[in-house]
Symmetry: C2
């Protein structure tokens, strides 16, 4: 069997991180990289990454998807361009029409049917028509606030309610994330940014809630979501210099959501994100509580790093995406994700491999 052939679309922190991970793995090759920034076209991947190729072939970055992804020469494309389903769906469709499998880390496509059932149907039909599959994944949505709770519920006779909490630090991130999460703004600026939509907060609650609801059959009918500022009592500043908040200003954003059935909160989500949480005694971590028989009380501390986790989830799910039956897939209908420390080909079914 030939090595697994992977192309990457989008070469920011996520796409380039996946490339670096793939360069350190066996039985897998990067065959194309499509970038959006015009000045990067024509550059060598290894130079842009600043990393050795480890004996693998060089790839020249291009702005042209048709150069990066060719039917019959690629098993799967990793789409890492942006978060929203409407724009990413067009990209996924372009990949599927080349008869190539597609993984995306767009948060709204971790469970596209949650908010965009028409787009989900369109992708599913296109994938089936072309005999390949599409998968959305990532650390959150994709694992920590959904699949992991679903997996734990496997040992339960009855489930009454699910609560997922992810307490994380924004300190490792750069200026863009600080701006999107309102770090360093006054309370008034935060309110204005929330009102005009320039503050994004966390994207993915609807997808996580519906993934859990559909898997367990909790029949959530309505989702409510809240975004509030985390106002700091003390001056805070990140070590990388990208973020700072004075006492009385905003150090981060508290995101919450509830999945309601008959007006009752059956799936609760809490995701406070802030710079330097340790300065005020907040420990990062991932927490899952499932009420029912028997109950689950899980803590993973400190939090799993969101960037590394998303990179890993996308790359580690390559075999599951290739092996899947044609159509739109989600994390709840493929075999459990896992790290891959041996040859990628050991995890791919020969019958499903596109580049034989």
């Amino acid at each position: 069997m030939q090595n697994v052939k992977v192309a990457i679309w989008g070469f920011g922190a996520m796409g380039s991180g996946m490339a670096e991970m793939l360069l350190n793995k066996e039985g897998v090759d990067i065959v194309g990289v499509c970038v959006s920034r015009p000045e990067r076209a024509g550059k060598k991947m290894s130079e842009v990454l600043g990393k050795p190729l480890n004996g693998k072939a060089e790839v020249i970055l291009t702005n042209n998807l048709d150069e990066a992804v060719k039917e019959g020469e690629c098993d799967v494309v990793l789409v890492c361009t942006d978060s929203h389903a409407p724009s990413v769906t067009e990209k996924v469709i372009r990949v599927l029409e080349k008869k190539v499998n597609c993984i995306t880390i767009a948060e709204e496509m971790a469970y596209t049917q949650a908010q965009y059932p028409e787009l989900a149907k369109k992708i599913d039909e296109c994938a089936k028509k072309n005999g390949v599959s599409a998968l959305g994944t990532g650390i959150n949505p994709g694992l920590m606030m959904d699949l992991l709770a679903v997996c734990f519920s496997g040992c339960m006779i009855d489930v009454k309610s699910v609560a997922c909490k992810r307490v994380n630090s924004l300190s490792p991130f750069g200026a863009t994330v600080m701006r999107e999460q309102g770090v360093g703004t006054t309370v008034e600026q935060f309110a204005a940014g929330k009102a005009d939509g320039s503050l994004t907060g966390h994207i993915g609650f609807a997808e996580s809630i519906m993934m859990i609801s559909d898997a367990i059959g909790l029949k959530v009918e309505k989702i409510e979501e809240q975004m509030d500022p985390i106002v700091t009592d003390v001056d805070r500043k990140t070590p990388n210099g990208a973020g700072a908040a004075k006492a009385g200003d905003v150090a981060g954003v508290s995101m919450r959501a509830q999945g309601l059935r008959d007006g009752k909160n059956v799936i609760d989500m809490q995701h406070p994100q802030q710079i330097e949480p340790e300065q005020v005694g907040v420990q990062t971590g991932d927490y899952i509580t499932i009420e029912g028989t028997p109950a689950v009380h899980m803590a993973n501390t400190p939090e799993i790093d969101g960037g590394l986790g998303t990179i890993a989830m996308a790359v580690n799910c390559i075999p599951q995406c290739i092996n899947a039956e044609p159509g739109l897939r989600s994390m709840i209908d493929i075999p459990v994700p896992h790290a891959i420390m041996d040859d990628f080909r050991n995890h791919v079914y020969e019958s499903k491999k596109l580049v034989k």
Copy 2:
């Protein structure tokens, strides 16, 4: 689609617990129960359980499998008779030859290929020939010390080593378990029981270790296992009266195992089991530590009850077993397990349903 039709083979604590769980679920019927004790044949299931049928049909217990399981009238059989692969394989083969899917909680069949590759091959061939599938599951092996670690590793770029620890209480169990785990024996009696094989300790380390090793590609070459007495400093007694240990005697068993590659312990298992651990300040729980990038440090406290957990895993995996491609399956190659709070038929593919 007709309700999912389930038969149960073996009606001890596990089999009868599964029956009770199924009587409380939608879209699923119990169509047969095969028991080993002759005096139970001819009795009504509801009377033996002492539970209401909740509008479902009565089942008359039988000692004859051919009465309990009929081709075309059953989608899946739950085999809950004993722990060991050689004896349970014969039972699984009998089920598969009736062209019915089969789930077993026999610990050695959670990953049959770990210790019995020939039996695994035999089951796989028989299942494929008959167009059905066989699956081994349970709480441990099956989830807490294997699948859960595998699932967490999905967010990791590299894995150096995996450590799973399950600290549990034997207090809820009856006299048989107390005897098998050496509770209340002197240190000398424990040593004798270990030597003559009458102490069973935990069964399933080889299966858990190989499931993790194969999923992640850790290439374990050798497994070592230890069984030691947990000697108590204080008198201990279980509330149910089934177990007691005087100071200086044995309150339980410390089970450990190591999955070795190049002589290095890459998958570590610790499973201390004792009566009344709280009396000596030991808190029960499930712990997973995965060294690598990023690292995982998970704790679930208190432990998930082993009996309830195994009952739930077997029943909750019914859809995955029915939906699977024909052959021998394991927890690492089916979609993630989950509780089922809605109609079982919502989780079964129409094309894979045996009783249409």
